[in-house]
C-alpha cells in the first residue's frame, strides 16, 4: 500500500499521471501547490479517486497559507504534519509526484 504525495497544481500533468498509479488500499496526500487540486470544481480526476473511495488528504498548513480553507472539496480530509507522519507509517511505502 502506497502513500502518494503530490505537490503540483492541477495545471501540471502530475495529478492525472498519479491517478493512474493509485491502487485500492493506497491513499493520496496533496501538499504544497498540490492542495489546489482540491480547490477546483471541475476535477474529474480527483472526483474519480473519491468515487473509488481512495482517501484523499490535504495538508492544512498549505491550505491555510493559500487562503483555501473554505474552498476545498468537502470530501477531502484536512490533516496536519503529524497526521502526514501517521499516514506514512500506515502505508508501506511512499511515491512522490510532481
Amino acid at each position: 500500500m502506497i502513500l502518494h504525495t503530490l505537490n503540483k497544481s492541477p495545471d501540471h500533468p502530475a495529478l492525472n499521471r498519479c491517478a493512474g498509479f493509485i491502487s485500492d488500499g493506497d491513499c493520496l496526500i496533496l501538499i504544497e501547490d498540490g492542495v489546489y487540486c482540491a480547490a477546483t470544481n471541475d476535477s474529474s480526476t480527483l472526483n474519480n479517486l473519491l468515487l473509488r473511495e481512495i482517501p484523499v488528504f490535504c495538508l492544512q498548513a498549505d491550505v491555510e497559507a493559500r487562503g483555501l480553507l473554505n474552498r476545498l472539496n468537502p470530501a477531502v480530509q484536512l490533516i496536519d504534519y503529524e497526521g502526514f507522519v501517521t499516514l506514512s507509517t500506515e502505508q508501506t511505502k511512499s511515491k512522490r509526484w510532481g
Partner: protein, 130 residues
Amino acid sequence: MKFLIVVQGGPYTSQASLSAWHFARAVLTRGHEIYRVFFYHDGVYNANGLLSPPQDEVNLHEAWRLLAVENDLELVICVASALRRGILDQTEASRYEKPLGNVEAPFIISGLGQLIDGTINADRTMTFGS
C-alpha cells in the same frame, strides 16, 4: 519507526525544504526516529552556512542545524551534488584550493551510499522535491 528523509529541492527556490523540515519535526513529535536526512540535487543548498535571509523569514539552514543539534540527527549532503554547486566544507575547500568552505557540522558531506543505506535500513523513506 525509523525514517529516511530525502530533500531534493533548494531552499527559497521551492517549498520542498520547508515541507521536509516540518515533516521531520512531526516525525520526532510522534515519537519516531529519524535515521538520516539526505540532501541531494538542489537540496544540498540547505547546507550552505552563508544563507542570510531577511530576519522575518525562516532561515532554513539554521532551522535544520537546530533540529539536528537538539535531536542528534544525521544531516548528510551528497558530495557529488554539493561540489558541483559550490557547497564545500573546509576539507574540500582546501583540497580544491577554494578560498573558503561554507559547510560545517552537523551537516556532513558523504556519498550516495548513505542514500541507499538509508532506504535499506529505515522503515520509511519520504522524498521532498521541487
